[in-house]
């Protein structure tokens, strides 16, 4: 057991958790106090140091891990209990608590703590000028830190149980934050929907965990991942357990068919969308599936779990295409990003599915067999690494995209407010009276999130536009930027599996088509927002003003761009290799690293994969954006000029649009388009099912309970009351009748005595 910094790793989780009540109560006490509002930013500045501390601590842990390979830290037993009857494999009788650190943990720990910190900074800029929630933002920060604690806890947990516990904690915070604008019915609805949908998945996750516990007698990674233990387990049961857990992941990561909550979740404040619904929480599902890797990779499970791997990949494939298609028609900036998130997560699922399939089918455990390099090993490592790398890239890029969109929305909102402010005669800006009037503004038709109100912002919001551009490029997989390094690996490996297992053609084709679709909708979004002429008065008056927002945007832009360095550091291999000898700054240098990457992804010895890879790159980077440009491209207004690195793109789009532009109204009015606008009717059907079936059934049940179950009792009561009246009617009041009854009684007595004798 390693000592040192890992002893303190628990504070990464505890610090935010402990600050949660502090902010809540401080906020309650100082609500409306100017010092609190202005200087402490209603708690934002209380939360920030904590998040920074958490990040620093995380970095220390990460650095220590890379140096010394920390492993796990057992803190103690949480619950212990008796378990007399035991199956063959059950020995333990406790739930433990501890910290577990390996490559995957470290990767996600960095993502989580880094983004939490950045988004905290972003929120200070975004929330404090959020007029809707004057003096209520401490609630936001409190819930925010609690969420961070949940996320970090989930990452650091040393068992599936604690993973689940923090997972639920995140779910709660997600619920609270989506419903942050609680007074809006749509937000309330969205919050409920998010919690319920993920809850459905969670139920299965719990069942999966329970089955897993019954198989292993523990949920600790150390026990579950021990190949000696795995060898004792029945593969069929294990597959069921993992399948159940996967349903939980589907819910959390918004995959088909539990995806409906994510777009609605955009009702929350934008920092929340950025952090929870793009960068961190939705990755939890992926993380869970990635955590199953050792089980799939175990020798004793060889070939037994391929069905599950197929299911994972297929769910991913379907969602990828579906979400991308829906993203085509979305007008709301954040909704586009939401569907994009869904689609990209689906990519990762497909990648993980493929990697798990490979791990389960190949003899990959040894890196070298008889001194020769084991290519199976390399393939598996690259496949798994690609998926995780994409997770990393996507988190960074999507976090940034959301923040950028937040920036746009924020400024749009402000510009709108300013415009209207000129028309109104309200002098006081801060009074409560005004507060109420303010809401009237929101009731007008203006929607700061609608892309039809934007356009031409590239020159007005240069930082934002740049960040958006880089982020989009990363998602699309433009060469050398961000996702490029990981996406192709996913596609290639999906096809690799498809060649061996024909069922995989479905997900493999999906991700390939998805690449083109991604290119289209991301470009469409950027062009509609930043290129062309402003489509509304408001858009003309937009400009960036708070300093808090650009900081994270710039930072993340650089991180995204620096993927190439990570790729060079053989991130892919490092993150996926369970053996410890692969340390981060490997024996090979940067260039060698890149070569490694190329060697295994881009210069595939197999001709099929070689061609495939470049087709993918081509359709993703050229076909998709090209179509988007043809439809939505356009030059900026006269006199406006974007930054030099964006101007060529705008010009190009303008040219493509002029030359190749075509009318797509036939498509736009087609049934399919409408169906996509209606999100393929999933929400409608789910709502209908809930309202008609479940609610109907519940009402019938309640009525049944009242009328029949309770009614039985009441009937007994009323019947006996009636009987009572009947019986008392025999007491006629006439003494003659009484005597007659007595005489009859005498007869009865004799009858009975006679019977007795």
């Amino acid at each position: 057991m390693a000592g040192g910094i890992i002893e303190y790793a628990i504070f990464i989780v505890l610090l935010p958790m402990l600050i949660f009540p502090v902010i809540l109560f401080l906020g309650h006490i100082f609500n409306g106090n100017q010092t609190w509002v202005k200087s402490a930013k209603e708690g934002g500045l209380v939360a920030l140091p904590i998040m920074v501390a958490s990040f620093i601590l995380s970095m220390l842990v990460i650095v220590e891990f890379i140096g010394n390979n920390l492993g796990e830290h057992h803190i103690g037993t949480w619950l212990s209990f008796g378990w007399i009857e035991s199956g063959s494999t059950i020995e333990a009788n406790a739930f433990n608590v501890g910290i577990y650190i390996d490559h995957v943990t470290v990767m996600l720990l960095f993502v989580a703590s880094f983004l939490c910190m950045l988004i905290n900074i972003f929120s200070i800029g975004y929330m404090n000028t959020d007029p809707v929630n004057d003096n209520r933002n401490h609630r936001f920060y409190a819930e925010f830190v609690l969420f961070c604690s949940g996320m970090l806890g989930m990452v650091l947990a040393d068992s599936f149980l604690w993973l689940f516990i923090f997972w639920e904690l995140m779910g709660l915070c997600s619920y609270l934050l989506i419903g942050f604008y609680y007074h809006k019915p749509s937000a309330a609805y969205a919050a409920k929907k998010a919690f319920l949908t993920t809850r459905v998945g969670d139920v299965f996750l719990v069942i999966g965990l329970v089955i897993l516990w019954n198989l292993f007698g523990s949920l600790d990674y150390a026990v579950v991942f021990d190949s000696a233990n795995i060898a004792k387990v029945d593969p069929g049961q294990l597959q069921i357990a993992l399948g159940m857990m996967f349903i939980g992941a589907v819910g959390k990561s918004a995959q088909f068919p539990l995806h409906v909550w994510l777009p609605d979740a955009m009702e929350g404040p934008t920092p929340v969308s950025a952090l929870i619904h793009a960068a961190t929480m939705v990755n939890a599902g992926l993380y869970l599936v990635a955590r199953m890797f050792p089980l799939f990779g175990a020798e004793s499970m060889h070939g037994e779990l391929v069905d599950l791997a197929f299911i994972i990949a297929t769910i991913g494939g379907i969602t990828a295409v579906m979400a991308a298609a829906i993203a085509f028609v979305q007008d709301d900036l954040k909704k586009v990003l939401a569907y994009s998130t869904m689609s990209q997560l689906a990519y990762i699922f497909t990648g993980l599915g493929a990697a798990l399939w490979l791990a389960n089918s190949y003899d990959w455990q040894e890196a070298y067999i008889d001194g020769k390099k084991n290519y199976d090993h390399v393939i598996v490592v690259v496949a798994f690494g690609a998926a995780l790398f994409h997770l990393f890239n996507h988190a960074m890029a999507k976090g940034m995209l959301f923040m950028a969109s937040g920036s746009v929305i924020h400024e749009m909102h402000h510009a709108h407010h300013d415009l209207h402010h000129h028309h109104d005669d309200h002098g006081d800006d801060h009074g409560d009276d005004h507060h109420d009037d303010h809401h009237d503004d929101h009731h007008d038709d203006f929607d700061p999130q609608s892309m039809s109100n934007m356009g031409g912002l590239a020159s007005k919001m240069p930082i934002t536009a740049t960040a958006m551009l880089v982020g989009s490029a990363s998602i699309m997989g433009l060469p050398l930027i961000g996702g490029f390094w990981s996406k192709e690996g996913i596609i290639a490996n999906a096809w690799r599996v498809a060649l061996e297992d024909p069922r995989f053609f479905l997900p493999a084709s999906c991700v390939l088509i998805g690449a083109a679709m991604t290119g289209f909708y991301m470009s469409r979004m950027w062009l509609k927002t930043f290129a062309g002429k402003p489509k509304s008065e408001v858009a003309e008056n937009v400009h960036e003003h708070t300093p808090w927002i650009p900081i994270p945007l710039v930072t993340l832009t650089f991180v995204t761009l620096s993927s190439v360095i990570l790729a060079g550091m053989m991130f892919t291999k490092w993150v996926a290799t369970p053996e410890s000898e692969y340390v981060f700054f490997g024996k090979m240098g940067m260039i060698e690293g890149l070569i490694y990457e190329f060697e295994h992804v881009f210069v595939n010895p197999d001709m099929f994969f070689f061609v495939l890879t470049y087709i993918a790159i081509f359709i993703g980077a050229v076909v998709g954006p090209g179509l988007a440009m043809a439809l939505y491209g356009g030059a900026l207004s006269d006199g406006e000029k974007a930054k030099p690195w964006m101007q060529p793109i705008i010009n190009l789009s303008s040219r493509v649009n002029k030359k190749r532009g075509f009318d797509n109204s036939a498509w736009a009015n087609s049934g399919l388009s409408n169906a996509l606008k209606e999100r393929l009717y999933f929400d409608k059907w789910y709502d209908a099912a809930m309202l008609k079936l479940v609610a109907g059934f519940a009402n019938v049940s309640a009525a049944f309970d009242r009328k029949v179950v309770d009614g039985t009792i009441k009937t007994i009561e009323s019947t006996s009351q009636k009987l009572s009246t009947q019986i008392r009617r025999l007491t006629t009041g006439s003494a003659r009748d009484y005597i007659m009854m007595a005489a009859l009684g005498v007869l009865v007595i004799y009858l009975l005595l006679g019977v007795m004798i």
Partner: protein, 100 residues
């Protein structure tokens, strides 16, 4: 001497008539008379049994029973009188204020 069994039969007949009358007649006085019939049936039986068993206590019982019957009639008449005072009838069927 008459067989005591016949006395028992007689008393049984008296008893039956008395009981029958008690719940078929409406007039309280007649019911009272029927009551006397029952009591007398008992007395007859006591006496007959005393003779049969050669035991004197039967006679004593009968005499006591006669006394009891007398006081019973006295009380009964008094109560019926009171009833008549209030209800102005001694028909048992018509006195049915209290019922159910």
């Amino acid at each position: 001497m008459i067989d005591p069994a016949w006395v028992s039969v007689l008393s049984a007949i008296l008893f039956t008539i008395g009981l029958w009358g008690a719940f078929t007649r409406k007039n309280a006085i007649i019911v009272l008379m029927c009551l006397e019939l029952i009591l007398n049936a008992a007395n007859l039986q006591f006496v007959a049994a005393a003779i049969q068993h050669g035991d004197a206590s039967g006679w004593v019982y009968a005499i006591f029973a006669i006394a009891i019957a007398a006081s019973e009639v006295a009380i009964g008449l008094a109560i019926f009188l009171a009833m008549y005072g209030q209800h102005e009838t001694i028909s048992l069927d018509d006195v049915n204020l209290l019922k159910n």
